[in-house]
Symmetry: C2
Subunit: 145 residues, 2 copies
């Protein structure tokens, strides 16, 4: 098992970060413009990245302004993500929101994990910029690595 673990501090209240992690318009503003999602436990959000594939994420748990927890049910470009779980843990500290991001339960530390670790870091900066300034860099506007 291997995990991707990141952290970013966003100068905003948790409710604004939580909205960007749960509402379709928010998710479209930092991860990918091609998203179909609703903030409901048990629903499956679809994220697409053109010919780079995409993923279907079941929303396993939502704690308002505190936690977003997904499990990957399908992935278009391979099966490494299937069964992995993504957590966004939000804590208010000194008027900002600390986001602890975890992408857990990878079976192996593959090259795709390394690639995704870099991509998640960039998307978390995109999330920070979206919430702080109104302008993120979702796919297809993300940095190519």
């Amino acid at each position: 098992m291997a995990d991707i673990l990141h952290m970013v501090t966003i100068k905003a209240r948790p409710k604004h970060v939580y909205a960007a992690l749960t509402e379709q318009a928010g998710l479209a503003g930092w991860w990918t413009e091609k998203v179909s999602a609703e903030p409901r436990v048990g629903s499956v959000a679809q994220f697409r990245f053109g010919d780079r594939g995409g993923s279907d994420m079941e929303i396993l748990a939502l704690e308002e302004n505190r936690l977003v927890h997904w499990a990957c049910r399908a992935h278009l470009s391979g099966d490494e993500w299937v069964g992995t779980e993504v957590f966004f843990d939000l804590r208010e500290e000194n008027g900002a929101t600390v986001v602890r991001f975890s992408h857990r339960r990878w079976l192996e530390a593959t090259d795709f994990l390394r690639y995704c670790s870099m991509k998640w870091a960039g998307y978390l900066v995109s999330l920070k910029n979206l919430v702080e300034t109104g302008h993120g860099s979702p796919w297809p506007h993300d940095v190519q690595i």
Copy 2:
């Protein structure tokens, strides 16, 4: 034990990436402008980041255009890095250089690991930009997260 694992593809030959990872002028162009380093096994490179601290890295191994391997011998803002090891593994693929970055042997998956995982991702993009365009974003010009 926990590891930070990243990967970035740089559109340049390995010798250009290797120079940026071993020569003082190269390291100053993507990680921190405050660096004292020479490309010699057994030497200790000093990296400083203003009041955010810095680290002393012993150069454990160098394989020309293939591998750079450091071990942290001192860290100014805590002891979590001491004893950890950093690897830059370079492979030429389709005329580009794939850099597999590993920061291994963390004793625990702490918040500082999460922070450093984000920072390393940004610095690897800085390395890519330096080698590809001549312009990186070393400290103090790096993205604040």
